[in-house]
Amino acid sequence: MPPIIDDKKCIKCGKCAYVCPVDVFYGSEEDAVPTVSYGDDCYFCSACILECSVDAITLRYPLYAQPSYLSDA
C-alpha cells in the first residue's frame, strides 16, 4: 500500500514504474498513471520519489510502521 500517486499531478512518464527495485508497479501500462500492483512490497527506498519530476508520489507509512516518539512540545 505505500505508494500513492496523485493522478492530477502525474504526467504518465512511467519513470517510477521503470525504476522501482521490487516492481511495485508491475503490469503498469505505458502512457497511463502507473498501477500499484504490489504496494505491500514497498520498502521505502524512495527511488520513485527521486525519479518523479512533478512530485506526484507520497509513500504512506503503514499503521505498523509508525515511528515511536516522545514530544516535549
Binding site: 521490487v22 527511488a47 527521486l50 525519479e51 507520497t58 516522545l70
Partner: protein, 561 residues
C-alpha cells in the same frame, strides 16, 4: 475449460563478462571490465538506474585520503574490518588503499562528494579520533541522492548492455570447472535467459537481514527487500567455497519506522533515565561525532535487559543549523519519506526523542575470494559482504578488471553441453508457474516459515546445538514441501518463489555453520559455547559436494607470514 500451459521462451546472450547485480559494486565492475576491453552485460533483478544500497544515495564513505586523513585512521579502518581475526588481511589492506582511487573517479564523474566545496568528515566516530591535519579521521560524510544515476551513465557511456528485470538463478560450469555462463528469468515476461560468458562478477548477491530474520516483534517492513542471497547461493551451487555463514552484523534503527539504520542523527542515545547508553557517552549532541552508540545493538539489548528501556535518540538541544545539517545528510540514504513524515506530523526534532531498537541479525554469508575476488571456481568473481559502500565500490572495480583480463585465451563454451541443466531448471520454473489453486502456496508462506525457524531456533544469543538442529530439521522439511507446492501466477511471483528457495538454502548454511562453530565470537553468540576459542581463528568453509554441504576449516590469509 482448458487453460494453456505457460512455457518460458528462451533468450540467448553471448558476452565476455557477465556482471550479476548493479548497485555501486556491480556498476564499478561493469565500468572496470569495459575499460579493460571486455564486452560486458550488466544484469539486474530490479533496475540498475536505482539499485543496491545507493538507490537513494548514501551518507558515508570511509576512505583513506593520503595527506588528509592520517595513517592512524587507515590502521583503524583495517583493524575494524579484520574484526575478530577471521578475515583475509591482504584483501582488506588492498581495498582500504584503493578507496582514494574510487573517490577520485567519482568526483570525475560528477558525484557530489563535498559539502559547500569542502570534504566533510563527520558522524559515527569517537572523540579524539581526529588526527592532523584538521578533523579528517572520520568517514567522509556526503550527500548525493543521484549517485546511482551518475554511475549508470558511466556504465552506459562504455556501451555496456544493461538488462534490467532479470534475476540470474544458476551459474553454468564447464567440465574443466571454469565458468561457462549462467541462466536467469525475467521478472516481467515468461522468458528464460541463457548467457554464454567467459567470466562472471557477482555483486553482492548476499542476504539482507530482513529476509532471514523478522524485525523485532512486528512485521514492520516489507517482506520483499531484494537481498535474498541469489548471487552467493548461485556460487555455492556451482561449487564455490562459502564462508562467514555463521557471522552476523546488527545495527540499530528507528523503531517501527521503515528505516534501514542509515542516516546521521545529531543527538544522544539515551536510556529512559536519560543516561547515554554506550561509548562515547555523549552528554549533549555533537555534529562532528554523531553518536557512535547508535551502532551498539548490544548496548540497547542491555538497557532493556536491565529494565531501563526504551532507548531514545535525543536530538533535543540542537540548533537550527544542526538540524539543517542533519537533514542534508538524511536527504541521501532514502530518508526523504522520514523527512516528509516529520513535516506532515509537524514534529520538531529539536523537541522530540525517537525510539531506537537493535535490529535483527544480518548474516554475512559470502563466497571466499582471493585479492581479485575470484572464488574457487575459475572465472567466477564475488564481492565481499561487509564494509559498506567503500568495500563494494573497490571490490567491484578490482574484480571487474580481473574478470576482463581473465577472458584472454578463454574459448567460448558450447552451451549445448549444458542443455540438460538448462532444461531441468526451465522445467522447474514452468512447473511453479503452472500450479494453480489453494492446494498450492504463495511465496509469502515460505518467507514466514523461514522467519519462524530462524527467529525460533537460531536467534543469538539464545541458541544451542539442540535448537539449531531442531531448526535444521524443520527447515529441510520446509524445503521439501516448498519445492512441491510453491506457486506463481506470473513472472513477478515466480521471482519471489525462486528468492525464497535461495533463502532456504541460505538458512540451511547459516544453521549448519552456526552449529559447527562451537564458540561465541563477536556477535556470533550461543549459550552452549559462550566463550571464544582461539583454536577456531579460522574460516569455516562450506562447499557443496554431490548436492550436499560439506564443512572444513581454513586459515585466513595474513600479510606478515
Amino acid at each position: 475449460m482448458t487453460v494453456s500451459r505457460i512455457t518460458l521462451k528462451e533468450e540467448k546472450i553471448d558476452v565476455d563478462v557477465l556482471v550479476v547485480g548493479a548497485g555501486a559494486g556491480g556498476m564499478m565492475a561493469a565500468i572496470s571490465a569495459a575499460d579493460n576491453g571486455a564486452r560486458v552485460v550488466l544484469c539486474e533483478k530490479g533496475c540498475a538506474r536505482r539499485s543496491g544500497g545507493i538507490t537513494g544515495g548514501n551518507d558515508h564513505f570511509a576512505c583513506y585520503i593520503p595527506g588528509i586523513t592520517s595513517p592512524a585512521y587507515r590502521e583503524n579502518i583495517i583493524k575494524q574490518r579484520m574484526g575478530t581475526g577471521i578475515a583475509d588481511e591482504d584483501e582488506i589492506i588492498q581495498y582500504v588503499d584503493l578507496t582514494y582511487t574510487v573517490l577520485q573517479k567519482w568526483e570525475e564523474w560528477g558525484i557530489d562528494m563535498k559539502r559547500e566545496g569542502r570534504y566533510e568528515f563527520a558522524g559515527h566516530s569517537l572523540p579524539g579520533s581526529s588526527g592532523e591535519p584538521g578533523k579528517a579521521d572520520r568517514a567522509l560524510h556526503f550527500s548525493d541522492p543521484n549517485m546511482c544515476v551518475k554511475l549508470e551513465k558511466q556504465v552506459k557511456d562504455r556501451n555496456v548492455r544493461i538488462i534490467n528485470r532479470v534475476m540470474i538463478t544458476e551459474a553454468l560450469k564447464d567440465t574443466n570447472g571454469h565458468i561457462a555462463g549462467a541462466i536467469g528469468i525475467s521478472t516481467r515476461e515468461p522468458t528464460l535467459y541463457v548467457f554464454k560468458a567467459k567470466s562472471i562478477v557477482i555483486n553482492k548477491g548476499g542476504v539482507t537481514g530482513s529476509r532471514v530474520y523478522p524485525p523485532p516483534y512486528v512485521i514492520g517492513y516489507s517482506m520483499a527487500e531484494p537481498g535474498t542471497g541469489d548471487g552467493v547461493m548461485m556460487a555455492y551451487r556451482a561449487g564455490a567455497d562459502i564462508v562467514n555463514a555463521e557471522f552476523i552484523k546488527r545495527q540499530i534503527s528507528l523503531r517501527f519506522g521503515p528505516i534501514s539504520g542509515k542516516g546521521t542523527w545529531v543527538g544522544v542515545t539515551r536510556d529512559s533515565e536519560g543516561n547515554p547508553i554506550a561509548p562515547p557517552y555523549l552528554t549533549k549532541p555533537d555534529v562532528e561525532l554523531g553518536d557512535k552508540a547508535i551502532e551498539n545493538a548490544e548496548a540497547v539489548d542491555h538497557v532493556w535487559e536491565t529494565g531501563k528501556g526504551p532507548v531514545w535518540m535525543d536530538p533535543r538541544g540542537i540548533s537550527e543549523e544542526d538540524e539543517r545539517y542533519m537533514r542534508w545528510g538524511f536527504e541521501s540514504e532514502a530518508l526523504l519519506p522520514l523527512l516528509r513524515w516529520l513535516d506532515q506530523e509537524k514534529i520538531d526534532v529539536k523537541k522530540t526523542r525517537f525510539e531506537f531498537i537493535g535490529m535483527q541479525p544480518w548474516p554475512l554469508i559470502q563466497a571466499r575470494g582471493n585479492v581479485n575476488y575470484e572464488t574457487t571456481i575459475g572465472g567466477l568473481y564475488a564481492l565481499p559482504q561487509e564494509g559498506g559502500l567503500p568495500r563494494s565500490a573497490v571490490s567491484g572495480m578490482v574484480s571487474g578488471e580481473a574478470a576482463a583480463k581473465k577472458i584472454q585465451g578463454i574459448k567460448t563454451s558450447n552451451l549445448e553441453e549444458h542443455r540438460d541443466t538448462i532444461l531441468h531448471s526451465k522445467q522447474q520454473y514452468e512447473e511453479i508457474m503452472n500450479r494453480e489453486g489453494n492446494q498450492f502456496a504463495d511465496w509469502r508462506e515460505a518467507q514466514w516459515a523461514i522467519y519462524q525457524i530462524m527467529h525460533g531456533y537460531a536467534l543469538p544469543p539464545h541458541r544451542t546445538e539442540n535448537t539449531l538442529l531442531a531448526g535444521h530439521n524443520q527447515l529441510l522439511r520446509l524445503r521439501k514441501l516448498a519445492k512441491r507446492i510453491l506457486k506463481a501466477s506470473n513472472p513477478h511471483e515466480l521471482y519471489h518463489c525462486l528468492e525464497v528457495l535461495n533463502l532456504i538454502d541460505v538458512a540451511e548454511l547459516v544453521l549448519l555453520a552456526t552449529c559447527e562453530r562451537k564458540e561465541s565470537r563477536g556477535k556470533m553468540q550461543r549459550q552452549d559455547y559462550p566463550f571464544a576459542n582461539p583454536m577456531l581463528n579460522k574460516f569455516l568453509v562450506i562447499t557443496q559436494k554431490d548436492g550436499k554441504p560439506t564443512l572444513r576449516w581454513e586459515k585466513p590469509r595474513r600479510v606478515s607470514e
